[in-house]
Symmetry: C2
Subunit: 224 residues, 2 copies
């Protein structure tokens, strides 16, 4: 199909498709004339994946390219792909966290020690460079600075639920299929599911809140 | 204390403190002279909460102000406060999700039906306007467009874990204390814990991945 058809099929504007082509995020089409190329179903699928990673997850174009390279660059070792997606290796693999606040300071040593205490209590075998350790430390530090009594021990039952979730995640990946499909699925399950999981928790919170603290939608606000 | 001391204690620059004062996010200090005011420990605590909401969660100043107003504006009904934090009421309550991609389209009706199918299967009693329903619909639509076989039934076991998590969350809030402290805790548990929960899942994923797919940190990358 022509680039105009590719644009129509995916809803991505032609200039943006050309940008993805220039950046190597989308493989070139088959040249049919000096200034024309033919695109296939693979391009449709790849474009949708790009839009999903950038749109739903707010990943930068650079981080998206790294993930796409991991999927399609002959990287067929699932542990490696997961490592890249999780930001464990290589260092510039993925940056799924929102841009850190420029005024935020480094996690303090106590926060880091608390995060490591939790990881140790769970018996998790993780790389020292896993960026999630830092995120955890930052939240624990913030909770401490705000004068709450929430510490890493409070988070232990949450860590156990996260552990169950990760078991579910990895079971999703173990379904066989060609390595490329498995790698793509790894990205979807790890990265794309995150907003869905937070959404599920928020829905469950509203449900529990109306059961516990009562007065379900008494004001009628929020009707859509 | 003077504003300079408040700045030193919290690490927030004086111009930014003045901005928060102008915007009504920080209550005025006690006037001591024509151009001077005295600030107390409440200001320190409030400033830290503002920086946490904006810094760690990436909330806009406007959304942060709404949440602060809910906490301190005499709003002592925990269900109401949670509703505001969850974006259920009023409509402009909180906007914890990252800015939606301008090219992203509305969730399609099938995605919404799938999200509602999941909510129904869980028996959750939630407002039709809960923005988390839309987020869930968007992810389900994306997974469908990407040609995966992940549908709302795949997410059922995740929804059960999210349900357990929400039970834990609400138990955190039930600890008594004055209503103001409870409301503040509600914000912390719901909003601030989100990045920590994703971090816990990512850590558990790395742990499971190295156990299942092997070769723990073979390349030594990610050492920090």
């Amino acid at each position: 199909m022509k680039v105009s058809e590719l644009s129509r099929r995916t809803g991505v504007r032609v200039p943006l498709i050309k940008y993805y082509l220039r950046e190597g995020m989308l493989p070139p089409g088959r040249a049919t004339a000096a200034n024309q190329a033919d695109y296939g179903e693979d391009h449709v699928r790849r474009l949708r994946l790009i839009r999903t990673l950038i749109g739903t997850r707010g990943l930068s174009a650079g981080a998206t390219k790294e993930i796409l390279d991991a999927i399609t660059g002959g990287q067929e070792d699932l542990h490696q792909v997961l490592g890249i997606v999780l930001g464990v290796r290589p260092a510039k693999g993925a940056e799924p966290a929102p841009a850190p606040d420029p005024e935020a300071s480094d996690p303090d040593p106590e926060g880091l020690a608390a995060a490591r205490g939790l990881i140790g209590a769970m018996g998790w075998d993780v790389s020292p460079g896993n960026p999630a350790t830092r995120t955890l430390a930052e939240v624990l530090t913030a909770l401490d600075h705000l004068g709450t009594d929430v510490d890493w021990r409070t988070l232990l039952p949450y860590a156990r639920l996260a552990d169950d979730m990760a078991e579910l995640d990895l079971r999703q990946l173990d379904g066989g299929g060609d390595p490329l499909a498995q790698a793509e699925r790894a990205v979807l399950v790890t990265v794309l599911l995150e907003p869905a999981l937070l959404a599920l928790r928020r829905l469950a919170q509203e449900d529990k809140s109306s059961r516990l603290f009562g007065g379900a939608h008494a004001d009628g606000a929020g009707e859509a």
